[in-house]
């Protein structure tokens, strides 16, 4: 019984993190049809900000806000550097510029800060353990679940109730038509990147909380997670991204629990194979996106 509860807590906390990661990616893709390869670097930016302010006497909460702010700023910078100059040209061009920007950021961190891991400050709360239903688990897991629940709820409300949210959903379906109703394109785009940064920044705090250090390549794993969750969820659907995140977390956790010791290091290969099977069955993802008739 305790194993089952442990499993559920693990899936929910990992899934919460994964879902937030995926959502941050999809919100840009859904509206702009752009895959943001520099998305992982938003997490890197948050991490390095934490490292850079760690020596100051600021309370951790303030440092965390700064870190999230750094992610938001980097997100908006990605728009201006990698997307706007080539947006009108071709879809491939945008993919490549974001990949190039990602490399640029990683190497900049390598050059300007250090290629070696740097430790980041974490509140004691994160490593405290909590006993829930007879299961001992790091408080961090519960914080993740709570944070994910709060953010996802806020996000859903914002997208459904506010005019800007409705405008963004409309822009995701048909950008030009939204503009023809007076929806300002640039505002929608900047907001999408800002929200993406906000989500990435928050995930960064939770994700780096597991590792405790930051390296230039720290964004790669979250990027992959966001990618895969998005693809299984259905590229254009916000609900799909969340679902994909939880499903991926379920697969990863299940494999963690069930694989024999010597195969555990190949877990990613197994996950990927399962993902391929899911894609064989449903190439368009699990949740259908806005119906437009266009090839996504």
């Amino acid at each position: 019984m305790t194993a089952a509860i442990q499993f559920v807590i693990d899936v929910l906390s990992l899934g919460g993190a994964y879902a937030l990661m995926a959502l941050g990616l999809v919100i840009v893709y859904g509206i702009l049809r752009l895959v943001n390869f520099a998305y992982g670097e938003l997490i890197m930016a948050a991490g390095y900000t934490l490292y850079l302010v760690s020596a100051s006497p600021l309370p951790w909460l303030v440092m965390a806000v700064l870190a999230v702010g750094a992610a938001v700023v980097t997100g908006i910078a990605t728009d201006y550097v990698a997307f706007r100059p080539v947006r009108a040209k071709s879809v491939t061009a945008v993919l490549i510029t974001s990949f190039a920007f990602s490399t640029l950021l990683q190497n900049a961190a390598q050059l300007l800060i250090s290629p070696r891991p740097r430790s980041i400050p974490l509140p004691e709360m994160f490593s405290d353990t909590v006993t829930l239903f007879g299961v001992v688990t790091p408080a961090r897991n519960l914080i993740t679940i709570a944070a994910a629940a709060v953010l996802l709820t806020l996000f859903t409300l914002a997208m459904r109730r506010t005019v800007l949210g409705i405008a963004m959903r409309a822009a995701a379906t048909h950008f030009t038509m939204a503009r023809m109703l007076g929806v300002p394109a640039n505002l929608v785009i900047s907001t999408a990147f800002a929200i993406s940064g906000l989500l990435a920044g928050t995930v960064a705090l939770l994700w780096l909380g597991r590792i405790g250090t930051v390296v230039p390549r720290v964004g790669l794993e979250p990027l992959l997670i966001a990618f895969i969750a998005t693809v299984i969820g259905g590229m254009r659907s916000l609900e799909g991204a969340v679902l994909g995140g939880f499903l991926l977390a379920f697969i990863d956790t299940a494999l963690n629990y069930s694989l024999p010791q010597d195969l555990l290091k190949f877990r990613d290969a197994f996950t990927f194979s399962l993902v391929i099977l899911i894609l064989l069955w449903r190439p368009a993802g699990l949740v259908r996106g806005p119906a437009t008739g266009q090839r996504t």
């Binding site: 005019v163 409705i166 405008a167 959903r169 409309a170 379906t173 048909h174 030009t176 038509m177 939204a178 503009r179 023809m180 109703l181 007076g182 929806v183 300002p184 394109a185 806005p290 119906a291 437009t292």
Partner: protein
């Protein structure tokens, strides 16, 4: 609002879709733009609305030069366009679609509310389906929705691209009755249509486009009687 289009040219790469077109719509007038497929009518409308950049020429609203403005600006200037593709936002509800149509007036909550109610009164079918997602509406209902949505921005010039396209005759009747009602409120309308009869019945004046140019123009009644109208169509 008065619209004046001078020597408009639209090109798609090497293709010259509109080759020098002059159109005028007076304040409160309904003007029809007729022509066969590929004559350049939609391109003309899109260029006026700001969705495409004209290659050459001028667009003036009440004398003000607005050539090449982005769509957002044209909406704020009082122009609303309903494209041929009828793009309802299929995953948004009817309610949300309408609300979005009033985006430029979103701060005037009372006004937007009043307009919403007015639209529902004008289009009772939409009122019935207010909470349904727009993708589930029939073709005729979607056409009504996009017209209502365009009206939500309180435009003074309405650009309609083929409102009757693909709709059953009874629905077309309703749509045109709607257009006549809107015209009666003093709205200027530029209407692109393939249904010549219906268009000329509701319009004050009309132009006929052929191969990117204006081939004929005049009061609607005269064109309706003109014998050579068929030639303009069959000629391409």
């Amino acid at each position: 609002m008065a619209l004046a289009v001078e020597a408009l040219e639209v090109r798609y790469g090497g293709i010259r879709a509109v080759r020098g077109v002059d159109i005028e719509v007076g304040d409160g007038e309904v003007v029809a733009l007729l022509g066969a497929n590929g004559a350049g009518k939609s391109s003309t409308l899109l260029a006026i609305a700001g969705a495409i950049r004209p290659y050459a020429g001028r667009v003036r609203l009440d004398g003000r030069d607005v050539t090449g403005s982005i769509p957002e600006r044209m909406v704020r200037a009082g122009v609303a366009m309903v494209p041929e593709t009828r793009d309802v936002f299929s995953d948004l509800t009817v309610e949300e679609n309408l609300r979005l149509g009033a985006y430029v007036r979103r701060r005037d909550r009372a006004g937007v509310e009043a307009d919403r109610a007015a639209m529902f009164a004008l289009f009772p079918r939409l009122a019935e389906r207010a909470e349904q997602t727009a993708g589930t509406l029939s073709g005729g209902e979607q056409q009504m929705l996009v017209i209502a949505r365009a009206m939500m921005s309180r435009p003074r010039l309405l650009l309609l691209d083929e409102p009757s396209l693909g709709l059953a005759p009874t629905i077309v009747e309703q749509i045109f009755a709607m257009i006549a009602r809107l015209a009666a409120t003093g709205l200027s309308i530029l209407l692109v249509e393939q249904n010549v009869g219906k268009a000329l019945a509701v319009a004050d004046r009309a132009y006929v486009m052929r191969l990117g140019r204006i081939a004929a123009a005049g009061p609607a009644r005269e064109l309706a009687a003109a014998a050579d109208l068929k030639e303009h169509y069959l000629g391409g």
